[in-house]
Symmetry: C2
Subunit: 602 residues, 2 copies
């Protein structure tokens, strides 16, 4: 393509709104523009790379026999009611009522759409396993869209779903997907960190996230340098670490006793006052849980809670409260807590709720004698001794508390945030941490959707069965942005050949005379051998052309200048130096470079 | 592809919901399924043909230098407020408020999105002309979605927009688009009727619709057999046809006079009663207009109407009423009327409004002495003589009415529906009519969006100017459905090679032994020469395989049977008879058939 025919508004200035490098370079290289908060338009150059990423994903999905469908983007609300997610998806799902009062959803994901479609089509075990996917527009109403394509409201997702008669079959497709994902990211030139919550054995818990390291990542990754354990801190576990010495380490025979703590506000002040350490303090936080699916019918303080019993999905409590205990220096991990409570969301309860439930102002909650809500204790708490905790009265604490002796939690669970420095649950080595963004996720869903949406097939014995199901997603835009995050320098993007918008740029110093002739000849020779060429035919200074070529990151640049003719300069974007090549040999040489680079990463 | 790997749920039964042949065959051939009213999922086979149509459109857009973008599907409402269409788009536009109370729209079209994007990017005449397009999801909230893909709620549209410094430049792109559209439809194997409201000269009114004939078409086409005039009846004009003889044909000197017409309900009864003909009767209908942009400030009965004056777009009346007169045997065309009234919509007024404005029950409206709303008279009325009309009182009419003498309309315009049998406005020949569906539309927009949305560039003299604009749409799904409407027989679809989901199907009578070997060899030989082959490797009876192959309409079929080996049977889907060909030559022969067919229509 000739550059004069391309709409390529490159920017010299760094746009103020863009804080991450991919966002900056996508804007500066004229690849995207913002239409509104979290809504972007791909310009022609950006779309070329976007389509290449999309096609790599498509090829690898097709290679493992997954079949491409195209459901609508807008889908009826009733299928979300069937699955039970109409209630649990929260405000991130964009809901609409149309002119005939039908509830519609702009798809955030498509378990419902595919289950609804395939339950009418699949009737026999002979049709299974079945693996299907789409690459299509999704919308999630992010409260704080930011980082450009990294966290937009509208985005393109490859989402695949598979249906099986048994776990072995599901695991086979799950493993195929895992391999396909590794290949996709490799072909895109990306270093991904596959993250599993379990020890890394094949076929474990059935969930694997594909992360890229990012300073502004949404995810905190916990990594073991020794055994390779890698987990999102939303799921990471660690080896038990009872307090080894000092306050809180030794069992006491003393009965727990109240102690006046006037004007003591913080844990630090309290520890100074009592000459103890945060490790001996049981921190107790009151949490509000949304849509908990736990059975709280006989739990403390829950008798009068509203409980909803839908027809096809589990009963849930729209709102419930819990006292959550963790060792003083640790943090409660809200994602782990939400999973433990089977809730769609958890948040710290407001002051008035805390006062109502604890009978005291904020700061004096504690598990001893607490009966107005279920007490959830982290594993760390149950290993504590001779501990201090709030006494449910203003300016009063208890000391010499022995968990298990002086209180029995309603539930003991792992709800703490694991951090760098904690010890590996698997091998005991010390964890380190990274921030990361999730590009893909493969997940064994099981029967959640097929049961709630009543998808049935007849097995070999003519008996009705629910298929088991997997789901597998990749964010296309986010993958594109991550490639730029990994491949750039101070001058701009450095595309891997596989996803570069053009393979080669030809820059004549001036587009006239012999330089024009040579540039045109190279352009047509390369184009006809299947190489994607951008010819800079603009009337701009050479410096501007070089800067743009570097900024947009075309992998190979051919400079055609009077001074060098009959030679031309061939330079790789990733290399420092150029090479002089006879113009007559340049097309063949460059075509070989492109071909080799493309072959290397397939 | 092997059929056992493809998800291809063909149906023997004709689905009851499907009344048009494309809808029936899309369902029966396992190409689409309905998710909800007007919302469809493409299955793998359907998606293959869909993508081919999409790519033909893409290639022809690229060939005329239009640049592909990808805006978001969900767009902010504020750009629709800027253009003024937030108010005028009506309930067909899907509007949403998101969690932070931002107004959003699921794009029904994208003039606003592109104008908004490009006004920030285009600053100089040097950047113009600029032609851009997308192929993307659209949503229009059809009240009665039907006919499958012909009138769905969600659909894919290719929509292009062009921006120019002058009319000649706009006309050049407009003509390029017209040629590209003809080529696109030709490549898709479609016979389209290009429909213009003007005489057909180049560069006329700047609007051309590309129609396909359809029994259930949305559009009534008016066609001239002599000069080729073709117009949508929403726009068609005809030659003047004053009443030639009999009642209503001769001027009268009598003054108009009231005449009692007790118990006369219909025009026919009235004509019998007065011994006259509908051609002498002035039919007067009270219409309600929505968002009329006419200036009604000094029009009869309009003084107290609410008038809205937005900042960047024309003033309009949310609601106004008109008395519309037309010769008794003719019909008012509501689209022409809406255009005349510059209204987004018109509808017959309710009974209570009619009574309020005419001072009588429904049935006695007339233009004589009517002062409570503006009177709009069709051209036909002004050529009438000695006519009859309602007298604004129960059971009373006027006779001997002379238009122009006894009443003067506020506006005279062409608002009647033109019909087969009317005479060509261009050459006087008699029109015939067809029903059609619009597949594409090219349109010179002018300054509507660039002015209301304040898109400006600097011209050669450094002066700020608004660019003039064109828009150009093609419905992708509707094009696909129309191909099936035109190419089918009693056994199923008969795909043109260019858009067939597969070029060739190989049907072994049994997939075993020598038949399997031959089928596999043909499959791999054809596949490796770039032919798209579907191999029916299922354990089904030959009859089932033949029926499916015909139903899904693959253009060439190779049957491999024991009886014929070492020959195989090659049959075109469109032909009656098969031909025996040595298996060793079949691949080359069939590849040539495919290649020739593809070359013929490019």
């Amino acid at each position: 393509m000739k550059m004069s025919k391309l709409f390529l508004p490159t920017l010299r200035e760094v746009p103020a709104e863009a804080v991450v490098v991919s966002h900056r370079l996508l804007l500066r290289a004229g690849m995207i523009r913002k239409l509104s908060n979290g809504l972007f338009t791909y310009l022609p150059l950006g779309l070329r790379s976007f389509r290449k990423v999309e096609n790599i994903i498509r090829e690898e999905m097709n290679a493992i026999g997954s079949l491409e469908f195209k459901p609508s983007v807008v889908v009826p609300g009733d299928i979300w009611r069937e699955s039970g997610r109409w209630e649990t998806m929260g405000p991130g799902m964009l809901r609409i009522k149309n002119r005939v009062d039908q509830e519609l959803v702009v798809s955030p994901t498509a378990e419902e759409a595919f289950t609804s479609l395939l339950r009418s089509e699949v009737s026999s075990y002979k049709q299974l396993p079945l693996s299907v996917y789409q690459i299509n527009t999704k919308y999630r109403d992010e409260i704080r869209p930011r980082y450009g394509l990294m966290r937009a409201r509208e985005f393109t997702m490859k989402d695949a779903y598979s249906f099986h008669t048994n776990d072995e079959s599901l695991d086979e497709t799950y493993q195929d997907m895992g391999r396909a994902y590794r290949k996709i990211f490799k072909r895109c030139g990306l270093s991904v960190i596959p993250v599993r919550a379990d020890s890394g054995a094949m076929g474990g818990t059935g969930s694997e996230e594909f992360m890229v390291e990012s300073e502004v990542g949404d995810n905190n990754l916990i990594l073991c340098p020794k055994c390779g354990y890698a987990a999102n801190d939303e799921k990471a576990a660690c080896a038990p670490d009872p307090v080894a010495e000092g306050p809180g380490s030794a069992k006491t025979d003393k009965a727990y006793a109240p102690i006046e703590t006037p004007n003591v506000k913080t844990i630090d002040e309290l520890c100074a006052f009592l000459k103890t350490s945060p490790k001996a303090f049981i921190k107790t936080l009151i949490y509000r849980a949304v849509n908990s699916e736990l059975d709280l019918r006989s739990a403390p303080g829950c008798a009068s809670l509203k409980r909803v019993v839908p027809e096809n999905s589990p009963a849930y409590y729209p709102e419930s409260f819990f006292a959550v205990c963790v060792r003083g220096e640790l943090d409660v991990n809200e994602t782990k807590l939400a999973a433990t409570l089977k809730a769609s969301e958890v948040e710290l309860a407001g002051e008035s709720v805390v006062e109502r439930l604890t009978g005291a102002p904020v700061g004096f909650a504690g598990p001893v004698g607490f009966a107005t809500a279920p007490v959830v204790a982290d594993l760390s708490v149950m290993a504590m001794h001779d501990s201090v905790t709030g006494a449910l009265k203003t300016d009063l604490h208890f000391e010499h508390v022995e968990p298990g002796r002086d209180f029995t939690p309603w539930l003991v669970a792992d709800v703490r945030t694991v951090r760098a420095g904690d010890h590996c649950a698997n091998c005991g080595a010390e964890y380190y941490a990274k921030k990361g963004n999730e590009l893909g996720h493969i997940f064994k869903l099981g029967y959640k959707y097929t049961k709630s949406m009543n998808m049935l097939y007849l097995d070999e014995n003519g008996k009705q069965q629910y298929p088991t199901m997997g789901c597998y997603g990749i964010g296309v835009d986010r993958t594109l942005a991550s490639i730029i995050e990994e491949h750039n320098d101070e001058n701009g993007i450095v595309w891997p050949m596989s996803v570069a918008p053009f393979h080669v740029s030809i820059v004549p110093i001036k587009y006239e005379g012999a330089m024009k002739e040579t540039a045109d000849a190279l352009y047509s020779a390369l184009s006809s051998s299947g190489v994607e060429v951008l010819l800079d035919d603009r009337e701009e200074r050479p410096g501007v052309k070089f800067k743009d070529s570097d900024l947009i990151g075309v992998p190979v640049r051919i400079v055609v200048g009077d001074k060098n003719l009959p030679n031309v300069e061939v330079k790789l974007r990733s290399a420092k130096d150029a090479e002089l090549v006879p113009a007559t040999e340049a097309a063949a040489k460059v075509a070989a470079i492109v071909r080799d680079a493309l072959a290397r990463i397939v």
